[in-house]
Amino acid sequence: MSATTSSGGRQLAGIALFAVAVACVPLVTSSGVALNFVMMALYATLIAQAWNILGGFGGQFSFGHALFFGTGAYIQAIAQLQGGINPWVALPLAVAGAAAVGLFVGALSFRYGLKGSYFALVTLAFAEVFRILAVSVSFTGGGVGLMVPLRESAANMQFASRGGYLWLVLAFVVAALLVTWWLRNGRFGAYLQAVRDNEDAARAVGVNPFRIKLAAIGLSAAFMGAAGAFYVQVFQYIDPSIAYGSVTSVEALVAAIVGGMGTLWGPVLGAVVLHVLADLTRNLFGELPGINMVIYGVVLVLIVIFLPRGIAGIGQSVRQLWSAQGKKGNHHE
C-alpha cells in the first residue's frame, strides 16, 4: 500500500514539475516558433489526454471526438458573437455543452450496449451529422463559419503573445493530467479500468458500467470542449469542417495510442513526439510536398510494429527489465 501511495505522490510531484517547467517557457524565450510549438504540442496533449480518459482508461474507442471539440468551439464562438458573453464566462458553457453532447451520445450508445468498432463508427457518424447540421443551420454561420472579432486583451481571452495562450492551454492540460492521476489513484478510475478489462466481472462485483462509462465520456468530452474553446480563442475562426472534420478526431486518438493508452504520461509523450516528427520532416523536406507526410506515415507504422504498447511502453519494459535483473541479483546474494 505504501508503495502505491508513494508512487501516486511521485506522479503528483511529476505533474507539478511539468506544470512549473512548461509555465517557465514563456519567461525564458520569446521565440514565437518555440512558444507556438509548445502551445500546439500542449493543445495536442490536451485532446490526446481527453481521448485517453475514454479510450485508454475506459476502452471505448471513439473515432469522432471532434464532435465534442466542435461543440465546445461553436459554443465559445456563438456565446461571444450572439450572446455578447465574455469569453471567460463562455468557457464553462463550452465545456458544459460539450460534456452534455458527450452524455447524450454516451447515453444512447451505452444504453444499447455499443462496443468496439460499433461505438467507434457511431461517434464518427455523430460527428458527421453535427458537421452537416452546422453547415445547414444559420446560427453557426453555415458553411461560411463564424469569426470572433479580434480584440486583444487578457480580459477578452485574446493574448497579445503566444505566452498567454500557452499558459491557458497549460492550465487545461494540467487539469487533464490531474484527472488522469485521479483515474489511476481513485475508485472511479479503478471501476473504469475494470469495465474496460471485463465488463461482466465488474458488474458482478457491484460496478454499474453504464454510469461509469457515461461519466467517462462526459469528462472526456468536457476536455475536448475546452480544447475547442481554446482553438476559437487562438484562431478566432471556426467552420463546420474544422469543427467536426476528422482531423481532430484522428489527431487525438493517434497521439494517445502512440504515446501509450491508459497511462498518465503516454498522451503527453505521444503528442510531443508526433509534433516533433511532423515539424522535423516538414522542415527537412518541405520543398517536396508529400514526402514529409510519407515519412511521418512510415514512422507511425514502424512505431506500431515495434512499440505495440506505445512510447510509454518503453519505460515500462525498461523498468520491468531492470526490476527483473534486480531480483536476479538479489537471488545471487
Partner: protein, 253 residues
Amino acid sequence: MSDALLALSGVSRAFGGLKAVQNVSLSVREGSLSALIGPNGAGKTTLFALMSGFLKPDSGTVRFAGEDITGHEPHRNALRGMTRTFQIVKPFAAQTVRENIAVGVHLHERRRGVALARAEAVAAQVGLAPQLDKPASDLTVAGRKRLELARALATRPRLLLLDEVLAGLNPQEIAEMMPVVRGIADSGVTVLMIEHVMQAVMHLAEHVWVLAQGQLIAQGSPSVVTSDDRVVEAYLGHGTAARLRKAAAGANA
C-alpha cells in the same frame, strides 16, 4: 422460510425455442454451504445468471433477503450482498492481483489506499498473498480461480455464488482450494456453488439441488441425492440406474 437468504419461485427462461430453465423454485438458507449440480447443459450457469441479475427471467420471481429483486441489475444485487464468480475466469488482465481485488473492496470503500490495503487480507484468505503485486495475466489457471474468488469475496457478500471454482484444477490444487471454500462458509458467508467435482460436493455441501434439462429433479443431502435414480439417469442416461443396480446385485451374489 424466514431464514431463506435467496428464494426462487417458478423461475423460467427460454432462448428462442430452448427452455434453458423451467419453473425452478428453491431457497438457500442463510449461513449454509450448498451446491447446484447437474450434467452439462442442464442450465446451471443460466440459473446463476438469473439469480444474480445477468439475465432476466421470463417468469417467476427472485427474492433476496426478503426483497423482490427479479430483473435487478447485477451491480445492484452485489450492493445488496450477492456476488457471483464466473466459470470462465474473467480477470482484469491489465491490472495486478491487488488492483483486481481492490475493485471488489471498493464496493463498500471509497478510498483507494484503504481498498488496496484491504486487498491484502482478502488475498491471504484465498492464498494469493505471494502473488499480490503480479499482473493478473501472469497467474496460472489455479491462481486465476483464486483471484476470481478473492475479488468476489472482497465485496463482503452475504451470499456468494461460485460457478465451478474447481474446474480445470489438478487434484492437488483442488485439495488446496476446498479448505478455502470451507473457510469462507465458516466465516459466515452463505455459499451456493455450481460444481462438477463430486468429491468436493460430497465433502463441502450440506444441501444439493440437481438440475437436468432446465428442471430441478432432486434435492437433499449429498448422499441422498447421489443415490436418487433420476439423478443417476440424468448423468448417465435413461435406464442406467436399473442396470447399475442389477450389476451391483449380481456382483454381490
